[in-house]
Amino acid sequence: MFLYIPIIINILGSLSSQRYTIDLTHITFEWYYKAFSNKEITTATINSLLLSVTSAVIASVLGFLTGYAYMMRKPGGFVETVIYIPIIIPEIIEAFTLATFYISLGVEMGFYTVLIGHLTFNIAYAFVILRSRLEMISRELIDVAKSLGAGEITVIIKVILPISYPAILSAALLTFALSFDDLVKTLFTTGPGFKTLPILIWSMTGRGGISPQINAITAVILIISLTSSLLISYILRRELIKTYY
């Protein structure tokens, strides 16, 4: 799959000791070592993780609740469109308009401004994933549980959650990956104090161009992202095959 060739070469490059060619005879981890003893880089990594995890958790929970509420009450197309729009809209429009919003309000841009921006599209994606899964749950199950005396919350905990936890997990992983890799939205909504890993890479390539250190960082991110997306494919394998057919 030739799409992956540059990525593989990137990883290889991060292991080699030369700068201008890939020299696999001297495999070295010095770039990784250099990269991760750098304070800037470790802070950025922690920032990224913090942002992505928070974003994923909030978005999954909200997406789940909204999806469940949607399944129970079926409000209709308009609400759907309202929540779906972030998926259709080009990210830069979302990012820019949000930035203008912040600037007009005179708000200082930092972690929370970025988080809000991320949540906008994360909730949309979580909602999409969870809603279709929740709609497949037959209403009878809920009615039966209710007639046996379960209250609303018990129904959610004992019936809905066990059935839908793969979808919830994959929504969480997806939103995590989206937030972790995100550059455009973050670029527009972040301030000088809060840098995520993609933003760091962005400014590094702006300054010095290519360097194996960046390769090392990107290799790490790649591994994280690839694992999470493969995990999602694994979790959702049954749904994948169903929709594919």
């Binding site: 799959m1 799409l3 992956y4 540059p6 990525i7 070469i9 990137n10 201008y20 060619t21 890939i22 909200l62 609740l65 909204t66 469940y68 509420a69 129970m72 009450r73 409000p75 309202v82 929540i83 729009i85 972030p86 080009p90 990210e91 830069i92 429009i93 820019f96 308009t97 949000l98 203008t100 919003f101 007009s104 809000i116 949540l119 909730i123 909602f127 997806l174 989206l178 890799d181 995100d182 550059l183 455009v184 670029l187 527009f188 890479i201 962005w202 390539t205 702006g206 960046i214 390769n215 991110i221 992202s225 690839l226 997306s229 493969l230 999602i232 494919s233 994948l240 095959i241 594919y244």
Partner: protein, 272 residues
């Protein structure tokens, strides 16, 4: 007791339904979107009419706009061509298992995010430059390569899915009636995969217009495409109103493309 429902009944029922926790949740989600998505958009639109709009700046931005449109158009064209070829081969000449692996790999590669892919590409080009002695990075070609590399999966997926949906009966009957492979492709497969082609066109075209990452990393200068320029205007020059105008123009172009395709297509454009 009157027979007809009194308005008091209807109102009290509506009020009850507002207290319904489910509606409240949906309300919360919608309000969130409205506050952080729609209101900002409206604010940007109103910024257009503010007084510190610089006509000179806008006029100077037009070449960038045109360049962006050209780059997007060419990218879309080539991506669709690549997608047609690859989807055709994959849809009709591979096994079921291979197809599943393919789908997983393509969607995974999409979730990596364009920064990593573009950087890896830049690194690859960097290495190639030293081997071939040719300057490729920071030229137009590099940007095109980067764009096509990033956006062809976005074209391949809908076209592939559309081709998969074609009932193989048609192919078989065409073969029975004596059609050759090329003929089958032109007269049966192509028309039937049109929804996918249109979806791919929309996705790639509107998406690639707003790119910042690819032109910046592969092109070097911050003035290739309109996305970059909007960013520059907002953060380096603090000219938010001009940037608003440009981004609204981008939005209008995107919406116009979507609407005109939907009009012409008539039938559903299939994305998923």
């Amino acid at each position: 007791m009157s027979i007809s429902r009194s308005s008091k009944d209807i109102i009290s029922r509506k009020i009850d339904s507002i207290k319904d926790p489910f509606y409240i949740v949906i309300l919360i989600a919608s309000i969130y979107m409205i506050v952080f998505l729609y209101i900002p958009i409206i604010i940007s639109i109103t910024r257009i009419f503010s007084t510190d709009l610089s006509v000179m700046l806008i006029l100077n931005s037009i070449p960038i706009l045109i360049r962006t449109l050209i780059i997007s158009a060419i990218t879309t064209l080539i991506s669709i061509l690549i997608a047609l070829v690859i989807s055709y081969y994959l849809s009709f000449y591979t096994t079921y298992l291979e197809k599943i692996i393919f789908i997983i790999m393509i969607t995974s590669s999409y979730w990596i995010g364009s920064l990593l892919k573009t950087y890896s590409l830049a690194y690859l080009i960097f290495l190639l430059e030293n081997i071939l002695g040719q300057r490729i990075l920071y030229t137009d070609i590099a940007i095109y390569i980067g764009m096509i590399y990033n956006y062809s999966p976005l074209a391949i997926i809908p076209i592939f899915l559309a081709m998969e949906r074609i009932d193989r009966i048609y192919i078989e009957s065409a073969r029975c009636l004596g059609a050759g492979e090329t003929h089958i492709f032109m007269k049966v497969i192509m028309p039937m995969s049109k929804p996918g082609v249109l979806a791919g066109f929309l996705l790639v075209f509107t998406g690639s217009m707003g790119e910042i990452i690819i032109p910046q990393i592969l092109g070097g200068s911050p003035r290739y495409m309109i996305g970059q320029w909007i960013y520059e205007l907002t953060f380096s020059f603090k000219r938010v109103s001009d940037a608003s105008l440009l981004s609204i123009i981008y939005l209008i172009i995107s919406l116009a493309t979507v609407i005109s395709i939907y009009r012409k297509a008539g039938r559903e454009v299939v994305i998923f």
